[in-house]
Symmetry: C2
Subunit: 272 residues, 2 copies
Amino acid sequence: MNPNAPINPDIMNRERLYPSELRQMIRAGKWRQPTSGVCAGFVQANLVMLPQEYAFHFLLFCVRNPKPCPILDVLEPGVSSPAIANGADLRTDLPKYRVYEHGIMKEEVDDVVDFFNDRTVSFLLGCSFSFERALIRAGIPVRNVEEGKNVSMYITDVECASSGPFSCPLVVTMRPMTPSQAIRATQITTRFHLTHGAPVHIGDPAEIGIKDLDKPDFGDPVTIRQGEIPVFWACGVTSILAATSKQVPLAITHSPGHMFVSDLRDEDLTIL
Amino acid sequence: MNPNAPINPDIMNRERLYPSELRQMIRAGKWRQPTSGVCAGFVQANLVMLPQEYAFHFLLFCVRNPKPCPILDVLEPGVSSPAIANGADLRTDLPKYRVYEHGIMKEEVDDVVDFFNDRTVSFLLGCSFSFERALIRAGIPVRNVEEGKNVSMYITDVECASSGPFSCPLVVTMRPMTPSQAIRATQITTRFHLTHGAPVHIGDPAEIGIKDLDKPDFGDPVTIRQGEIPVFWACGVTSILAATSKQVPLAITHSPGHMFVSDLRDEDLTIL
């Protein structure tokens, strides 16, 4: 990249927004876009809301599958103000939500005030944006960012540990890199155990049931260069697959890419 | 220690027992002693059993307080065979249990078959035995082991994050060592995040509300030598204080020191 190139002021503004400013904009109806690249350095989260009677088993699902479902915050029934974001309201402060009934997507909405009640339990789970920034800072390529695409996501044939009505296969993201970069990326992402941690697989996609890297189940395919191998991380979409169980009458999630932006800084989540 | 000294065959046998052998002995009524030093290298766990209606909030208490309450295994309601110990039964395979009603200890019993029903949820939480062995291997003194005492435990004035009916102060263990040993011990125990992880405090006990190191709330006082500082770790007894809430009609725990011995190896719990 040419360091003297003019900086796109829009991108700079997106990156430099404070989480509280973004949440205000969303609540005022002034932001309905995805949150990728917004509020650089602050932790973004997957949202799942479920009726209270499913909360124990969903929390247990997350505890049993910490790599795809790292728990950032869980709120008491009926509470919508998370501990990890001052003054935030989970009913209004995400740019877009999806509402599922018995596992089927019914609506995409701008807020969930009408669906939330005193028995609703909210879960905020880590996402990979935090470790992508750490990889980039370390000079490891993040191809989806380089190519301006959504990360490639695949449904594997690896079953998650189930809990009550919640069971699904592991979903992974893939980033291509050289073997030595894969080793360094393993070290770096190990520090970020609350945003998926170390890779779950390196190399042959068939070993985890992925038939064609060019055909991701979600997101976009990216270029894999000569000498690169695919490196796979557990993905937060796993939690969405689990939560949208046919047995659950009502589940609310963020819309893909439209995450909750917390006040936590990436470095708050590191273990070392 | 003189390497040529005769080895006490009883101690060797205790250390070399396999967890499955120990559990069989307990179930057959042939072992009612504490489990400290038994089955060296295998993970021991705190046990808490609660009625199903309290399970979500207790699990959330553990998630919110991962240093004192690291989750090793949580079982479905009515299930007593944990994933982390092949063929084990939590109703019979601990040497001694305590039964609490509304926070008051009612009985100490050899098994809990009569108290367990299809709505009972069992929690297994990490304990400090795993990291003590790692410290000893690294040449860091563990004074309570050297002096053949129970580790010193103190109730601090640091409040845990509460969840529903569960709230209590943080309980810590203390091990005296030199400042440079404290730095090394911090590195070593960081690897063991599922058995309390890095220390929660180093130095002045008054800062966390401890008035007199010679008067621990549980366990025994140990010698603090010239040039040593106290190093404090979160303690699993915190989970017992929380579980024995006045609001909970029935809670079952292990008796102090009489832990559940799992098939997990200490190294299975490390993050690096």
